[in-house]
């Protein structure tokens, strides 16, 4: 029996990657949930907004790298992030003016807006590929690891290594800061309060003199910030490829819906729930069990609940169960 090795193996292959992936999903789901709560439609263009924002960040990062600006051990992309957010914000406001505003004024049904966002998605999709290309782009620099598996083994003398990437650390820290800021903004500031009021009851909010255009504007700006941050963190941790961002849309929506659409707290919980269920349910427990159990009980097989082929199915099963028993999501969101 060797509990320490078991814990390290578990942390290395399940907890650390799951936690970082969860934070990335949570940031994405926050953006989706905000649009749903305040503008009242499911924004299919969110995955591509992330790709679009990240593209700006990458281009600026390359610019910085070529003139020799760097953030030392941290990725240069963090310095480029604010500029990327501003550009994405401007683009989203432009999209709102050109596309969404018209439909909002005519008070169309939410499902029409969903289809409109689908159109916006295809255009952003194409623009991103047109500007930066469909392939993989690498823009991560700085230290790769806070602690690498090899160093950890040498340091502790354990058989199992624990690797924590710089990007994983940054992802989690940034996510915490962003979420704290968002909640402070929504709960303490005047604009935040008016946004929540607008979300709760549009007519009442209008009667009490809240300017809807301002609320919409702030929402898009926050969404731009969230999407760009989530996209950049994801790109730093894995790699940037427009197609993958489009695919990210599914787990992000699953997270937002499981948590309760329109509820920011739910989006965060949903993100982690989906990420961990993907990693743990299909995890082969053989290694951990071999360390943790006495020899007579150690499994011969892989001790895998189901093959990794079913990874995606897991999040959808959770989604269905939650919707069956709590249609508004785990945290009370708006019913779909």
């Amino acid at each position: 029996m060797d509990y320490l090795n078991a814990i390290v193996a578990f942390a290395n292959f399940v907890f650390v990657p799951g936690f970082a992936y969860g934070a990335q999903l949570a940031l994405g789901a926050l953006g989706v949930t905000l649009v749903y709560g305040i503008l009242r439609f499911s924004n299919f263009a969110h995955g591509d907004t992330m790709a679009f924002g990240t593209m700006f960040v990458i281009l600026i990062t390359w610019g910085f790298q070529s003139v020799g600006i760097s953030a030392g051990p941290l990725p240069t992309a963090l310095l480029a992030l604010p500029f990327g957010i501003v550009l994405t914000g401007v683009f989203l406001l432009g999209t709102d003016k050109v596309v969404y505003q018209f439909y909002r004024r005519t008070r169309v049904k939410p499902v029409v807006l969903v289809m409109v966002s689908l159109g916006v998605m295809f255009i952003m999709n194409g623009l991103t590929r047109f500007i930066i290309g469909p392939g993989d782009q690498r823009f991560a620099d700085g230290e790769r690891f806070i602690i690498s598996a090899r160093d950890f083994k040498a340091m502790t003398g354990l058989k199992e290594g624990l690797a924590i990437k710089t990007t994983q650390g940054i992802t989690v820290i940034t996510a915490v800061i962003v979420v704290a800021l968002l909640f402070w903004f929504l709960n303490k500031t005047r604009t935040g309060k008016s946004m929540r009021a607008f979300s709760d009851n549009e007519d009442l909010a209008l009667l009490s003199g809240i300017n809807p255009e301002r609320v919409v504007m702030y929402t898009w700006l926050i969404v731009a910030a969230l999407a760009t941050i989530a996209g950049t963190l994801y790109g730093l941790d894995k790699s940037f490829k427009p197609f993958t961002y489009f695919q990210l849309l599914l787990p992000i929506f699953a997270s937002a819906i499981v948590g309760g659409l329109g509820n920011p707290l739910g989006a965060i919980a949903g993100g982690f729930l989906i990420a961990f269920s993907e990693v743990t349910v299909t995890y082969a427990w053989k290694k951990v069990a071999n360390y943790a159990l006495p020899e007579s009980l150690a499994p011969d097989g892989l001790a895998q609940l189901m093959s990794t082929d079913y990874k995606l199915a897991v999040s959808f099963v959770i989604l269905i169960i939650v919707l069956l028993f709590k249609p508004t999501g785990l945290f009370k969101g708006q019913s779909v």
Partner: protein, 397 residues
């Protein structure tokens, strides 16, 4: 009035066609490759290879008494069978191609063969579809490939690993015809040779996160991780996650992973890894590189095979004295194999002349073409190893 217009325009079109026929003869050959999608980083060099062969033949002026060969490109997407089928349909019905150099990935190749090539009776020569399933597919003698079946690659892969003394590996494959076919072929060959595959786990391409797959692979363990995937897709994602978590330090890469992109992505991190992809040390490869003369990377995977695929179609046309697929399909095996004068890249003009004079040729080409069984390459592989962040040739098998 409407009818008159219609009739006039129909007349105009017909005379146009007749006029075109009267001028120099033109042979159109389709090039269907995944210019977008999972292997988009290697397909440009494949198409260039095929076009080099066509340009060479046109320049010689020997094909069917001075026919001009025009390539028509179409996108197979590598993964989307319906898009690929539509592209092939367009090539045949609206562009009127007389043969298809392609497709690339096994899944779309099977789809085009079954839905379009068979129905229209058009010859397909694929430079890179390697699924063992295609050996037994119904083809009316229309389908050939200058790439070997993966059943052969599975055996070669086993030999490469066994020679390095590696007896236990974890295996992950991309969840499609190519990945599954190769993984099964490898697993049966490896186990027959006394090796152990600790786990065989599929991965989906283009997914957001591969930590679940890598977690399972790491738990199963093994001396090496065999990644039967695509370098532009999930394959790189799995390798990245495996390296980052310290699950595996060394890998073995089959053909879908071997590309300049792999070295660009991982550099020295994959030192000590090995791999193999179709390739040969026959003088043909060097002659092909010399022929291309730096216009593009001639050693890129499947680029020589593409040159050969296009060349075979045109040589068979000459042997049959006709550009109709129904006439020349039976000639492909004849021009590809012995007996006859050996033909290397850059000698297509000479080959056409020999055929015209009624002599036999044995097309060797850039990839030492030798067609066996149902018209597929016998298979020569280049074993590569990674050292100091570079891809090096270990030997040829």
């Amino acid at each position: 009035m409407k009818k008159l217009l219609l009739a006039t325009s129909a007349m105009a079109m017909m005379t146009g066609a007749a006029l075109a026929d009267g001028h120099a003869k033109e042979v159109k050959i389709g090039i269907i490759l995944g210019f977008t999608g999972p292997i988009e980083s290697i397909t440009p060099m494949m198409a260039d290879g095929a076009e080099v062969a066509m340009a060479e033949v046109t320049e010689s002026g020997m094909l069917l008494d001075g026919a001009k060969v025009t390539p028509v490109r179409a996108d197979s997407t590598c993964v989307d069978a319906s898009a690929a089928t539509a592209a092939a349909e367009r090539l045949i019905t609206s562009d009127g191609v007389k043969g298809i150099m392609g497709a690339d990935c096994s899944g779309v190749t099977g789809a085009i063969l079954a839905n379009v090539a068979l129905a229209n009776g058009v010859v397909m020569v694929s430079p890179s579809a390697t699924s063992p399933g295609l050996s037994t597919a119904e083809d009316d003698g229309l389908f050939f490939r200058t790439a070997p079946s993966d059943a052969r690659q599975g055996v070669v892969m086993t030999e490469v690993l066994m020679d390095q003394g590696i007896k236990s590996v974890a295996l992950t494959y991309t969840n499609n015809d190519y990945g599954k076919g190769l993984a099964d072929a490898f697993q049966s060959a490896y186990e027959a040779a006394g090796g152990e595959v600790t786990i065989s786990a599929a991965h989906e391409d283009g997914k957001a996160d591969y930590s679940a797959e890598v977690g399972a692979l790491a738990a199963a363990g093994g001396d090496r991780l065999v990644v039967a995937g695509y370098v532009d897709q999930g394959g790189s994602g799995v390798v990245r996650a495996a390296l980052d978590t310290g699950a595996f330090d060394t890998f073995h890469f089959p053909d879908g992973m071997i590309s300049a992109k792999l070295v660009e992505n991982f550099g020295a991190e994959i030192d000590g890894s090995s791999g193999q992809h179709p390739g040969t040390d026959s003088p043909g490869a060097a002659k092909y590189t010399a022929l291309v003369d730096g216009a593009f990377d001639a050693t890129s995977p499947f680029s020589p095979e593409s040159y050969d695929a296009a060349a075979l179609i045109m040589l068979a046309m000459q042997a049959a004295g006709s550009m109709e697929p129904g006439d020349y399909k039976s000639k492909i095996m004849d021009v590809a194999n012995a007996p006859g004068t050996e033909i290397f890249p850059g000698e297509l003009g000479k080959a056409l002349e020999l055929i015209k004079a009624g002599e036999d040729i044995d097309y060797v080409g850039a990839s030492a073409v030798e067609l066996i069984g149902p018209g597929e390459s016998a298979g020569n592989y280049r074993e590569v190893k990674y050292e100091g962040g570079k891809e090096m040739t270990a030997q040829y098998r």
